[in-house]
Point group: C2
Chain length 331, copies 2
Amino acid sequence: MAKAAGVSVTTVSHALNDATSSRVKAETQQHVRDVARNLGYAPNRLASGLRNQRSQILGLVSDEITTTPFAGAMIRGAQDAAYERGYVVMVVNSGLDSELEHREITMLQQHQVDGVVYARLYHQGVELPPALSGIPTVLLDAVTGDPSVSSIVPDEVNAAETAVEALIRAGHTRIGMINNVDDIPATHGRLEGFHNALRRHGIEHDPRHLVIAEPETSGGREAALALLSQQDSPTALFCFSDRVAMGAYQAATALGLTIPDDVSIVGIDNLELIADSLWPGLTTVALPHYDMGRWAVNRVLDDIDNPDTPPEQVRLACPLIERGSVGPPRT
Amino acid sequence: MAKAAGVSVTTVSHALNDATSSRVKAETQQHVRDVARNLGYAPNRLASGLRNQRSQILGLVSDEITTTPFAGAMIRGAQDAAYERGYVVMVVNSGLDSELEHREITMLQQHQVDGVVYARLYHQGVELPPALSGIPTVLLDAVTGDPSVSSIVPDEVNAAETAVEALIRAGHTRIGMINNVDDIPATHGRLEGFHNALRRHGIEHDPRHLVIAEPETSGGREAALALLSQQDSPTALFCFSDRVAMGAYQAATALGLTIPDDVSIVGIDNLELIADSLWPGLTTVALPHYDMGRWAVNRVLDDIDNPDTPPEQVRLACPLIERGSVGPPRT
């Protein structure tokens, strides 16, 4: 490079120092920097990142951000936390195509990301792609069987307990549940939470009051029609999700029932686009996507700063968001 | 650097060539590369990006991605297009805080982004931040008065015409519109499209059939209650958005009207979480967020490849998505 710039090696060294050097004329310094840039020797943030082995970039690898309304909050949480610590987040989505995911991770490595948040858009078990070995990685809304990998997911059992407790507090004892037909952690955790809450209050569970459905509005509608048409029908419905709860609203309307006077309804998600738009507003339990995004980034940055930080698998508690869909049972 | 590595400048040059050099022993080459890396001379993608003045990174600067459900599709479109051309997208959000936006743009510059997509999450006029001058920039869902800046927005007039034509085709002539109270391009464009479609078919507009409302479900509900309670009430409602249309559904239910037998309803957005979840499904006009994201990235990459490409301001047509909320008027 000294040769290319036509100056001594010492001059190059002084010229490329970030601070203005008193030993090199400004003009010479600019010349050396121009030559250096052409050669790929860049005295900028990226190159200084390389010097101290830090690019200040994190990768966020997710399966899909288009079709779920939760992605925004997760990504925003991740970006806010990264920004506060001087990092930026490069977001890539594989759409669950493992070959595409591999190419994306390779691209992140070429950009020398310091760490990766590996995200799923609903709580599920995953296997970490081998390409991530050697890069500090934290799981977001996902878990592996590997205890050395830090992860954060919503506490599904707690979320369901919180929802059902709200119905019990209002005076309900005939409580129906519309669960998800899919074999995912949320299905099992929320069913466990439903039973826990009933048991804690000495309420006997009527097996006819548990129905499983596709986790869509139409599934919730059909399940709620079945539950609310029974003899001794439930006075309150705990729905797997806000979309399922929207279906339960439609069923109540079709049966001429008023919410919450004739039937109380709670969901899980706090998907504001639905929960706020329903009439009356839906009382639901919030899944803490923003907070999980923040946590995952802070955790991976802690791992980068101190690789000996013990790993942890966190289940985050979920708060009740009260709107207008829960009232006392009709006597 | 040659001094630091203890070899000749020529050897450094050969050693740092990406291809394995036959003129330098592998061991020496590795040594030189190690020294180079410590000095910040990195023979990797970033550094080679710097050499040819390309980082292969684009910045996507948006106001907010948390609260709007459209962001995912826009970002996905941008990322897909970038990926196809060997780029990655670094997404940052300012939440409309101009100081934060300035710091984020500075950070993108430090990462030497080759270009920027400057996005808003609904169609609006903006001023480009001065920090972006000198960086190829394309506007996404936003426009400026500057004809030298390329931009893409939905064709609001066309979107409304498409929605109203669907009602006219089904036989409606008494068509109400629930417009937005906000002074934004969509409000004016959609009103113009509404009048255009009526005029084209020789339908006289009854001014009582135009109501403005907050663009929320509650606003739509109240406006629709007012419209549908009139004498000679409209047989069909064109709603500013899918959320407003959801409110119109609630009003119809409250008045004991069946959709589409008693009243037909169309929206704009194709917000699937709502349009698919309503019962019956909502016929609506899709805002092409994914396609706009793709276009913006391709356009900025074209500008990078060929800075002389003439700028263009595009209004993208919006397709009708038919579900179940439009039928013939009750006779």
